[in-house]
């Protein structure tokens, strides 16, 4: 610019003609203006630079200090994150979208046996040469493709001769524009846990096997207890009919009461173990409800009377009497509840109410209630009352013995029969135990009077009975009871001897113990039935058994027997069975 301007001035100085000079001067002025404009700009830039220098330098110094602070914070943060990544007790890794490792933490590197910086860019197959699966990589690929995190991926890997189980969580990583750029994986060594789980599984199996064995043992031992119990109760009964002093009678009553209590305990334990072992099955047969209730009342009224308690039964008119159900189990529940009511009531009354809830076709639901005016049950105990070994923690628990199994068994029995059981109680006023059971209506027309008549008219005088029983005490008890009924009794000590006597004499009835030496009861019964084949003869045979499990009845009947009596049995039970067999 200045060069051009100087050149124009020089040209101007050489012009001689004034007219040319004026024309050229215009160009010089234009150039001068341009020069001036450029000069102004340069001057501004210079001045601006000077003016701005202080502000910008101050701003830069301050903001640099800020950036330093930020940088220091970021450095600390980075160190914290690095420490976190290194010390976290898990294998942590980042992979890119091609599933190559980008960063791994120290525990991962140690597990792999390769320095962390040498893992970058490698695949799982590079790091773990023995790794052959694709399932894990498939899951990682799915996570990257779908954007979903995946949890609890368990896998067993083998590396450097060691097998280990790992549990992994994986999640995609996104950049600021929300694009997936890789994934993070966090894995834990769960080998110990897996081993522990296996141990627990084995322990559980052992425990279950132990429980089964225990139940079988209890069932077996309970069975073995029945024979001596029968002896104690039977002999005591015989003894009771002999001439005794008052003191001896009191002592004998004590023995009988204790033995009866022990029998209840034994039955509870046996039932409970059968239920627990899953061997308790219901035996549905026709029965008469009023008859069962009368039987129970006979006993309970006596027990209630001993404590000066009233005992009343109220059966609604619409309650059907002929039912199909497991009368033994029903009886057991009812006896348990009424027995408890008597036990825990000191004054007042016991009432049993039976009502029909609904009837549909040949099905009916009956509700049974046992009310007492006893001490009642605290509300906090009600929920656990039907649980195993539950006893109400109250003064009465100190006074009254029991296994704590009774109500638990009632609950399980009602469950097995498709019913319900419950309790309502007010402390100091009494309790209401109730249960609901479904029954099928029976169409067998048989009434109580008919049965009662046949019972009353029975007579066994001069009838000959053979009792085959190896246990001498039981032999003696049965003989005593049969003699009291009017029978003439012959005895055999084993099955062989019984069969010989069968051939030698003409008997009206044979009572066979099942477990006998030489020949057991089944074999004897089968031999007799074989002998009778082709004739019109049919000798009545009753089995004596310490077994009381469902299915036994079918076994005896299959062997040709006409009835059975479970030990220990009462005089009445034996007599009733004989009546049903001989009539």
């Amino acid at each position: 610019m200045s060069h051009k301007f100087l050149s124009l001035i020089e040209d101007l100085s050489k012009i001689q003609n004034p007219e040319d000079f004026a024309g050229r001067l215009g160009s010089v002025i234009d150039e001068l203006k341009k020069f001036n404009s450029e000069y102004d700009k340069l001057l501004f830039k210079y001045e601006r630079s000077s003016k701005e220098k202080n502000i910008l330098s101050s701003l830069l110094i301050r903001t640099s200090a800020d950036l330093k602070k930020v940088s220091d914070k970021l450095k600390i943060r980075a160190e914290e994150l690095s420490t976190l990544l290194t010390t976290i007790p898990a294998y942590v890794y980042f992979k890119d979208t091609s599933l190559k490792y980008m960063i791994v933490n120290q525990p991962f590197a140690e597990m792999a046996g390769i320095p962390a910086d040498q893992i970058t860019g490698k695949t799982i197959y590079d790091i773990f040469p023995g790794y052959k699966n694709t399932a894990y990589l498939d899951k990682e690929a799915y996570s990257i493709e779908s954007g979903f995190a995946l949890y609890d991926i368990e896998e067993e890997i083998e590396h450097t001769g060691r097998k280990r189980w790992v549990n992994s969580n994986i999640a995609p990583i996104r950049n600021s524009e929300n694009q997936i750029i890789g994934l993070i994986g966090i894995s834990w060594d769960i080998t110990e846990r897996k081993l522990h789980e296996e141990e627990l599984r084995l322990s559980k199996e052992l425990a279950e096997a132990g429980t089964i064995a225990k139940n079988e043992f209890i069932a077996s031992i309970s069975h073995e207890f029945r024979t001596p119990m029968n002896g104690i109760l039977g002999l005591s009964e015989i003894l009771k009919h002999s001439v005794l002093t008052h003191e001896q009678l009191d002592l004998l009553n004590g023995i009988i009461s204790s033995a009866e209590n022990l029998l209840v305990l034994l039955n509870d334990v046996l039932d409970f173990s059968a239920i627990e072992a899953g061997k308790m099955e219901m035996d549905y047969q026709p029965f008469m409800l009023d008859r069962v209730m009368e039987d129970i009342s006979l006993v309970m009224k006596m027990k209630a009377a001993e404590k000066s308690l009233a005992y009343n039964i109220c059966i609604a008119e619409n309650v059907p009497n002929l039912l199909i159900g497991d009368s033994q189990r029903f009886r057991q529940i009812m006896i348990n509840l009424t027995n408890n009511a008597v036990k825990f009531t000191e004054k007042g009354k016991i009432e049993v109410h039976i009502s029909q809830l609904e009837q549909s076709g040949n099905r009916t639901n009956l509700r049974f209630e046992v009310l007492d005016t006893g001490s009642g049950i605290p509300p906090e105990s009600l929920d656990s009352l039907f649980k195993v070994f539950s006893r109400v923690k109250q003064d009465r628990s100190k006074l009254i013995s029991g296994t704590g199994l009774g109500l638990s068994i009632c609950k399980k029995l009602t469950d097995l029969m498709g019913g319900q059981i419950g309790v309502e109680s007010t402390l100091g006023k009494g309790s209401l135990f109730w249960f609901i059971l479904p029954f099928t209506l029976s169409n067998i027309q048989k009434n109580k009077s008919q049965i009662a008549q046949s019972f009353e008219t029975s007579s066994f005088s001069k009838k000959l009975v053979l009792v085959a029983e190896d246990n001498l005490i039981n032999q003696r008890i049965v003989s005593y009871q049969l003699t009291k009924m009017g029978f003439e009794v012959d005895l055999a000590e084993d099955g062989q001897q019984a069969l010989e006597k069968y051939h030698a004499r003409k008997f009206d009835l044979i009572i066979l113990d099942i477990q006998m030496p030489v020949m057991n009861g089944y074999q004897v019964a089968k031999a007799i039935r074989t002998d009778e084949k082709g004739t019109s003869r049919h000798l009545a045979i009753i089995a004596l058994t310490a077994n009381a499990m469902k299915g036994d009845r079918e076994l005896y009947l299959d062997a040709g027997m006409d009835g059975y009596v479970s030990k220990p049995f009462t005089f009445e039970t034996l007599q009733q069975t004989i009546i049903s067999v001989l009539h």
Binding site: L59, R62, S64, L67
Partner: protein
């Protein structure tokens, strides 16, 4: 559309020029005027009232007028563009600033614009140093929607930061806004807004603000922070502060600059041209130097390539650009004028309003905001 221009440094000169321009029977129905407060705006408005013309004007912080005759950038002068717009295709209305806050003022303008035309475009000027340009824009958009074409600026007072004005052909208002609404069925309006300012330093947090008043930054008094960081005195603000605005970081990457236009030394607070939200992440910012001219040049050329035909151009350029670029500001204005070679009028503002291409309208600081206005040929 017939256009005539005036540039002068006195009201007397303006009267004469107006007379000269209308001697030939030219009767403009609208005029755009940007003038220094020093010229006597009351006298100017009194004169205009006699001319029965709709005026869209405001006080300025430097004015410029480029046409085939002159290319002038002035301080303390007046520029005017006399126009014959299609009757019924436009309306101008001045709004009293007693309608506060700024959002409500904008709301009133937006409501009116929607009543005048079904598809309006708006040119708007605001006066008053407490006016929050962002709220003014949001108030208008509340009625018109974000898609509306809208451009304008906040009036200046030659960098004194005392009192700014908008005016019509009848009224002068130091706290309000004037709006020119155009029927977009008849006119095509496009524009750009470009800054070039760059972020400096670490993030800071606005720890206490109310609207466009910032009390604390990183829990320090806002005025102290500015003085400390810029190493200036109370009296250097807000003028120096205008050149070093806060850059507000937004999640959508549409960062926005907010310039200081006033200070409250008693409360140690700063008043910005637009809202600075409480909790906003901000940085200081500065022009990177004279290279922003090249940046503007590229943006203008790009805009020209997409929009090469216009009848006139209106430019709202931040006074901070004038401060930063000095006489070299002519280079970026000249670039615009040379491309289209059509009359260009504008002024240096305390804040700009505009759409960047087809984006929603925002309130800006430190920008070169240019509008092209073209009468559609089929209605000529």
């Amino acid at each position: 559309m017939i256009l005539k221009t005036i540039h002068t440094d006195s009201i007397k000169g303006f009267r004469q020029a107006w007379s000269d321009n209308t001697d030939d029977g030219f009767h403009p129905n609208a005029a755009i005027i940007f003038s220094s407060v020093d010229l006597g705006l009351r006298e100017l408005v009194d004169f205009l009232e006699t001319k029965n013309v709709s005026v869209f004007g405001c006080s300025s912080c430097g004015e410029f007028l480029y046409d085939s005759q002159d290319q002038i950038i002035t301080d303390g002068g007046l520029v005017c563009l006399m126009m014959t717009l299609i009757p019924g295709s436009f309306e101008i209305k001045l709004f009293n600033g007693n309608v506060k806050p700024s959002f409500n003022l904008g709301n009133e303008i937006g409501k009116w614009a929607g009543e005048v035309f079904k598809k309006p475009a708006i040119l708007v000027l605001g006066s008053g140093l407490d006016t929050d340009g962002e709220q003014l824009v949001k108030g208008i958009q509340h009625h018109t929607g974000n898609e509306i074409r809208m451009f304008g600026g906040l009036a200046g007072d030659d960098a004194r930061f005392k009192e700014t004005f908008v005016f019509s052909g009848k009224t002068l208002e130091n706290n309000g806004a004037i709006a020119l609404v155009l029927n977009t069925d008849l006119y095509e309006i496009n524009g750009i807004a470009t800054s070039g300012w760059v972020s400096i330093g670490a993030d800071k947090i606005i720890t206490h603000s109310e609207g466009n008043v910032v009390y604390t930054i990183d829990d320090q008094p806002a005025l102290d922070v500015y003085k400390d960081y810029l190493n200036v005195r109370d009296t250097d603000l807000p003028e120096i502060g205008v050149e070093y605005p806060l850059l507000i970081k937004k999640p959508d990457s549409r960062d926005i600059l907010r310039a200081v236009i006033n200070v409250d030394t008693a409360k140690k607070s700063l008043i910005f041209a637009g809202t600075v939200p409480n909790g906003a992440v901000v940085t200081f910012s500065s022009s990177p130097g004279f290279e922003i001219i090249e940046d503007t040049r590229q943006k203008v050329n790009q805009f020209y390539n997409q929009n090469s035909e216009t009848d006139m151009l209106i430019l709202f350029s931040c006074m901070a650009r004038h401060n930063a670029l000095g006489p070299t500001i002519s280079e970026e204005i000249n670039e615009a004028w040379q491309n289209w070679a059509k009359p260009l009028i504008g002024f240096f503002t305390y804040g700009e309003i505009g759409n960047n291409y087809t984006a929603a309208c925002d309130f800006h600081n430190e920008t070169f905001t240019m509008v092209s206005l073209k009468q559609k040929t089929d209605v000529a």
